[in-house]
Amino acid sequence: MDVLRLATVLETMPRERTRLLDNLGRLRREVGPITPELSDALADHMRLRHGDVHEVTSFYSFLQVPVDAVRVCTGPVCDSRGARDRLDGHAIEVPCLGHCDLAPVVLHGDEVVGGVTYSTNGFLLEPDDLRVPPKLSSDDVVERLRGSGLTGMGGAGFPTWRKWDAVLREPGPRVVIVNADEGEPGTIKDRYVMELRPRLLLEGAVIAARVVEATELYIYLREEYATARARLEAALDDYRKAGLLAGLATSLVIGAGAYICGEETAMLESMEGRRGMPRLRPPFPAQSGYLGRPTLINNVETLAHVALILRGDWQPARLWSVSGAVGKPGCYEASLDVTLRELIDGYAGGLVGEPAAIVPGGAASGILPPAALDVPLTREALTEWGCGVGSAAVQVFPKEYSPLRLLAETMRFFAEESCQKCTPCRIGNRALHHVCEELEHGRAAMSRGQVEEWLDAMTLTSICGLGQAAPYPVRNAFERWPELFAPLGPAPVEEPASA
């Protein structure tokens, strides 16, 4: 360790606990991977307990890893395209790097090996000019969002106007956070927005900040998106020069590798310098969010739509990330009720080979069989298939990649990303991953009845969406491919629901 370098860097570091993650990220880049000694030095500088910094440092995947490390994505799409062959002694295995259209993906430091290409359409291809947001009253904007029917594009699908309205009703000071911690496997849309239309995103964010009369604006960006970071910084500069950020303290917060930090309350914990473990709700972030202030948290794509809506040239549509066994993987703007077949044939270059399973909206959205190719990808239609539209990340898996393998990898992902706070998510996902692995060898680690009980407990008692939604793909697989689960024995007979 370069002690002189450390002393120089430390001297410039702010002491507020909210800057802990930022300081750790800088130390890693400017001094080296965070060792216990570095962690203690920072703790002493910030007047924090050594243990607090230890807990935070160890929570994230990358703080103890060199900045020039080789990272191999082994998310389901990359895995189905041979990512594990790229693992050698030095590379580290990471879940989903958000470049699923280029699968299999390897990052060398900040650079995507082989370079980045875009395959897209619609507003993502229009020039990213800087526009002064229209001067509208808060009520007007909320009313227009309400009229548009816009819902959050991050996965939960909550009506956007209702969130804004809820924050407005709370006393200030208020905070706006752009959730740019895209991490749901298969999802690349927010990266496309940030790399191709960063000014459009900022337009939406500035509108949000004005409408809820926020004094602070944060963009929480995942660490793996170096290009998005550079383009956002350039766009922020333009905004600053144009005087559009006057009175609005704006900062980029860079994550350090933790899927769960995309969950709103985990993100708040992370930003406040603690482990990114979800909070109990209520209170909701709209009531008590960042540092206890009413906080509006919106997904990147949602805010881009907000800007388009207020520009007056918006048709109900969303960005679909399409990856896996298709001709032209990419990110495509299409209607909200598009079918898988329309999306794949009309935009993504058609199917390659015979599909075995299709994930409609990210790891937790469920798994569809090829029979669902003509189902519109709406919440209502997918509910009938036991699935959700999630973050609209369509992943097509060929028949060479067994649905059981897909399920095992999905559960591995949830197990490794579980924050460990609550029992059902912490243990349930590990157990289900093990059950899938054993099934591949024809063995039953648990009976079907026991698995069903565990799935119920995960859905009902997990603190956040990770544990609550993880059972979806398992239940889908039970229903669509019962033969794969035969070793677990028969499904329990449904008992009539008791009051």
Binding site: H50, D52, F59, E416, L460, S498
Partner: protein, 350 residues
């Protein structure tokens, strides 16, 4: 008082009372593992979930406050959820009794008839050994309820333990896996006292075969300083020896918290060199047993002799740190009025 409904019966609660407490006062026991009244509600183990009308999911009773008209149910699917959650915890609980401490998870499992349907392949954690002589830690007994870590952070305000990592590798360890002796830990044993499974335990009880339930407790006051912490001496009824010291959250002066001396320094009670009666040095230069009267007279004679030969100013009185306020008052009285010296001090002042 506010009114709510508990399992179909009318019940009452204090304004803002946690559901787990209100339920208990109304005769319904809700099991908890990660909850501790000293700590902020955490809601991690989920053992205490109960049905609340209007909520799509059951809520943790340890973190939910009763509101007027709330309709709460602990039957329907709650017992099954408790059983499943217990099974989950058991599926990585490889060592139920590392150091003769009570294990609330095992008790709960017995009560609910829960057994682990499988042992997770990654249940085994890296062992931890520490060179201190007082506290041991068995990671395979830990259920990650985080009570110990939260206790160090919220109550002791020290850095001794951390919840490290994420995913299957997550575990609780002394900060950066150091020996406790190399952290801020003062070996107060508070983490041990809040651990529901006995993963942190008294090292000297390892393999001693002392079952918690057979011990007899005698409440007394710690003699180490003037704070007057209330402690329970846990006595083995067969050997009549103190096996360990515990305390309870309801004890007034210390609320169940102790320091390293109060919790761990009781060996002197049974030490063969311990003085159990006054001794006076005789003409022969050796110490001889004496009555209190004889002993005090000998001390008084000695002091009087010093005053006679060198004046009262030759005497200084140094009071023990173990004395109470009242005893210190009497000491200065003895010094100033009885002996006639102003040289009186307590070693607590240094």
């Amino acid at each position: 008082m506010i009114e709510f409904t508990l399992d179909g019966r009318p019940a009452s609660a204090q304004e803002g009372e946690l559901l787990v407490h209100a339920a208990a006062r109304n005769g319904v026991f809700v099991p908890t593992l990660c909850h501790d009244d000293k700590l902020e509600p955490y809601g991690g183990c989920r053992m205490c979930v109960v049905g609340v009308e209007g909520s799509p999911r059951p809520l943790p009773a340890c973190a939910t406050r009763v509101i007027e008209g709330m309709v709460v149910s602990t039957n329907s699917n709650v017992p099954q959820l408790q059983k499943t959650l217990t099974e989950m915890l058991l599926s990585e609980h490889l060592n139920a009794d590392p150091g003769g401490r009570p294990n609330e998870l095992v008790d709960l499992a017995r009560e609910l008839g829960a057994e682990a349907p499988l042992i997770l392949p990654d249940a085994k954690r890296e062992p931890y050994s520490d060179r201190n002589r007082l506290m041991g830690y068995e990671p395979d007994t830990c259920i990650l309820c985080n009570r110990c870590v939260r206790y160090t952070q919220e109550v002791m305000q020290c850095s001794a333990l951390s919840l490290e990592g994420r995913g299957p590798e997550a575990r609780i360890v002394p900060t950066w896996e150091r020996s406790w002796l190399d952290t801020e830990c003062e070996l107060c044993g508070g983490c041990l006292s809040v651990c529901p499974t006995g993963a942190i335990y008294e090292k000297f009880l390892e393999g001693a075969g002392v079952e918690e339930r057979q011990l007899e407790q005698t409440k007394t006051t710690c003699t180490f300083c003037g704070v007057g912490c209330q402690i329970d001496l846990n006595v083995d009824p067969e050997t009549k020896r103190i096996v360990k010291v515990t305390s309870k959250p309801e004890y007034v002066s210390n609320e169940g918290d102790l320091c390293v001396k109060g919790r761990f320094s009781f060996n002197f009670v049974h030490h063969p060199d311990r003085l159990t009666e006054p001794l006076v040095r005789g003409e022969d230069g050796a110490l001889h047993p004496a009555s209190w009267e004889e002993a005090l007279r000998a001390a008084a004679d000695g002091l009087k002799g010093v005053i006679r030969r060198h004046s009262a100013q030759a005497i200084g009185v140094l009071a023990s740190a173990r004395l109470t306020n009242e005893e210190n008052y009497l000491i200065q009285k003895l010094a100033r009025i009885g002996l006639g010296t102003n040289s009186v001090h307590s070693c607590e002042a240094t």
